[in-house]
């Protein structure tokens, strides 16, 4: 495994709606590694993903973030995506009237163009998309439906995975990808992630679900608490959190 850091986040602070949500976060993810980010609700996990992706309501107030040496924070959202950053949304929005296949193909060709690759024609795209949909358990009909319009929670997540599989980014941030998925869906996640990871893709997985985390065999686990990385470790940290929860006892004080 190549150990050079693909994602380097240094002392990143982020403000949302006048509140400091992330406070001096530092995190490195080398190429091909899979890191897990855990933390209680409101600890800032989703904020990290959205801030790195360039959401306009998440303002970086200090620090830096690079992807493959490229300054992410200087780029608009689409350039970050074209540089290889993919964020799966916790609640993917609907885009009424836009066929899923058209949306994904347009996105794929925008990314391919940025990479200097030739655009995929409709026939090749559909062949590839249908094959991948079948792998993920997403009905083919969903390609013809408007993006996420009328999709169940699980279908939306599978649709995120479909985009991940087709776009093949360098780093994927999967924000609670398991929520809303059934057992088969979670199995599809672990299979896809293992496959993409073997091709050199890096991952930051935001999840509370130990069984999936174990199956993903993470290289590192980080616990976020009130906007700061409170702990780092391996799978054992995830197992301990699953057993004891996020609330940590205050350090014992010596009594006189």
């Amino acid at each position: 495994m190549n150990a050079s850091p693909l994602l380097e986040v240094k002392d990143l602070s982020v403000e949302v709606g006048g509140h400091d949500v992330l406070k001096s976060i530092s995190l490195d993810i080398p190429t091909g590694e899979l890191h897990v980010l855990m933390g209680a609700n409101g600890s800032g996990k989703s904020t990290l993903g959205l801030a790195l992706a360039g959401h306009p309501q998440f303002h970086v107030t200090a620090g830096s973030a690079t992807l493959g040496g490229k300054d992410l924070l200087a780029l608009p959202p689409e350039k970050r995506a074209q540089a290889g950053l993919f964020l799966s949304f916790q609640a993917p929005p609907e885009i009424p009237g836009v066929r899923n296949a058209v949306f994904v193909r347009t996105a794929l060709n925008a990314v391919r163009e940025a990479r200097g690759e030739t655009p995929l024609d409709g026939f090749d795209f559909l062949k590839s998309a249908r094959g991948q949909s079948a792998e993920l358990g997403l009905p083919k009909a969903m390609l013809n439906r408007p993006v996420n319009d009328g999709f169940s929670g699980g279908e939306r997540k599978r649709n995120e995975l479909l985009q991940l599989a087709l776009l093949k980014p360098r780093l994927a941030i999967l924000d609670e990808i398991d929520s809303g998925l059934d057992v088969d869906g979670v199995r599809a996640v672990t299979k896809l992630v293992a496959n993409l990871r073997s091709q050199g893709m890096s991952f930051l997985i935001i999840s509370h679900y130990l069984q999936m985390i174990e199956a993903l065999e993470p290289d590192a686990v980080h616990r976020l608490d009130e906007g700061r990385i409170a702990e780092q470790g391996g799978l054992a940290l995830a197992e301990r959190i699953a057993e004891t929860g996020y609330a940590r006892e205050a350090p014992a004080t010596a009594e006189a």
Partner: protein
């Protein structure tokens, strides 16, 4: 529709009648948000337009009719009529409602005073009518290219009982600058028939357009209208839906774009006169720059219209810089208790979450906006076509939507560039 002798009034009589009534006053309920140009513009009497209404050289008066296939051709009777000839004029306007003295009917009077030619289509007519109920839809494409600077074309469409008809109607200004066009369309949908009326009206910026569509739907009949349109110097789209027979239905969906200093005034009026009638009228208007738009949707339900239903939905969305003014006005007059009525008028913005989502997938902001705007418009139209997005593609509406959105967003970009 009530046939009266007045429907086919000779040109001079119509002109005199209009002179007596006067033009639309500035504070008119329907028209004051987007006031129309004065009567002389529509009568060809405005300065510089004295010879504008010269007789059209083409007996077909600028219409080009394409009938999709031989089977459809056998089921359509086509009449090109000369309104200057008293007998043909009488035929042209037979069975059409005579105009009254309402403000909106002033356009009908102005039309009668100028109209020189008309086209009548009888769909599902003759010996084939009996078999029409089981037959495939009759598919027609009608394109109008303006011929004169001031013109008053007429189109009459009769859809025979049980017949399915798809009519695609498109327009261009030809080589005419500052066009003033007062188009009157009369549609009759027979018992159990269905007409899908797809209209694309995207005039040049300097055009003055007034299109009025008068629709009568018989029992168990259904009329669907979808409209793609943009603003111009003056642009009025008015549709009157008369549902006087039980179980008659009418749906309208409009995707409208206004930019720059253009205007667009859409008026839809549903008149329910029988039980279990249904009207569903939805409009999405996108605006930018200093454009002015108005959407007036009116439902009138008379006594005894038990279990009638009406839906009015209108949305206005600013899509770029500037301060467009879009006025959304729902109206309802209901004189029966056992009916359902639903209405909504919202002023919103483009969905920021969808915009960010698309950009996160690698689409430029411009592409993402175009995709989302086009999707919103498409969804608006698909509703009328039973959410059948395939039908939109099949009917070739995609290219019109793409062009309308590209033109609209380009106008914003030009404006922003000029401001910078």
């Amino acid at each position: 529709m009530n046939a009266t002798n007045e429907a086919g009034l000779p040109i001079m009589a119509a002109r005199e009648r209009l002179a007596v009534m006067g033009w639309i006053p500035p504070r008119s309920e329907y028209f004051h948000h987007v006031p129309p140009p004065a009567a002389d513009v529509w009568l060809g009497e405005a300065e510089g337009a004295a010879s504008a209404a010269a007789p059209a050289a083409d007996a077909r008066d600028g219409w080009q009719l394409d009938i999709a296939d031989d089977a459809s051709r056998a089921r359509v009777d086509v009449q090109w009529l000369d309104a200057a000839d008293p007998a043909q004029r009488k035929t042209l306007f037979s069975d059409t409602r005579a105009p009254g003295d309402s403000h909106q009917d002033r356009f009908v009077w102005a039309h009668r005073a100028l109209c020189q030619h008309g086209l009548r289509l009888q769909v599902g007519s003759g010996h084939a009518a009996a078999a029409d109920a089981a037959a495939a839809p009759v598919r027609l494409a009608l394109h109008r290219s303006a011929l004169a600077r001031v013109e008053a074309p007429t189109l009459i469409v009769d859809v025979a009982p049980g017949t399915q008809c798809v009519l695609m109607e498109t327009h261009d200004s030809g080589s005419v600058d500052a066009l003033a066009q007062n188009l009157q369309i009369h549609v009759r949908v027979g018992r159990g028939a269905r007409m899908q009326h797809l209209r694309v009206v995207t005039p040049q910026a300097d055009s003055r357009m007034a299109h009025q569509i008068h629709v009568d739907v018989a029992g168990h009949g259904r009329y669907d209208q979808i409209l793609i349109g943009n603003g111009s110097s003056y642009h009025q789209q008015r549709t009157e839906l008369t549902l006087d027979s039980a179980d008659a239905q009418a749906y309208t969906g409009a995707a409208l774009c206004i930019s720059g200093q253009n205007t667009l005034d859409q008026q839809v009026e549903a008149l329910h006169g029988a039980e279990r009638t249904l009207s569903d009228m939805q409009t999405l208007m996108l605006g930018s720059g200093r454009a002015r738009g108005a959407v007036n949707i009116m439902t009138r339900m008379g006594r005894g219209v038990r279990d009638a239903r009406t839906v009015q939905m209108m949305r206005g969305i600013p899509t770029g810089g500037g301060q467009p003014r879009i006025t959304l006005r729902p109206h309802m007059e209901i004189c029966h208790d056992a009916v359902e009525a639903e209405h909504g008028a919202t002023w919103g913005s483009l969905p920021e979450d969808a915009l960010f989502y698309a950009r996160q997938r690698g689409l430029s902001e411009q592409t993402a906006r175009a995709l989302i705007v086009q999707g919103m418009l498409r969804a608006q139209l698909a509703h009328v076509l039973d959410d059948d997005m395939d039908l939109i593609a099949l009917l070739g509406l995609e290219q019109y939507l793409e062009t309308a959105v590209a033109t609209h967003l380009a106008a914003e970009t030009r404006k922003a560039g000029a401001a910078a």
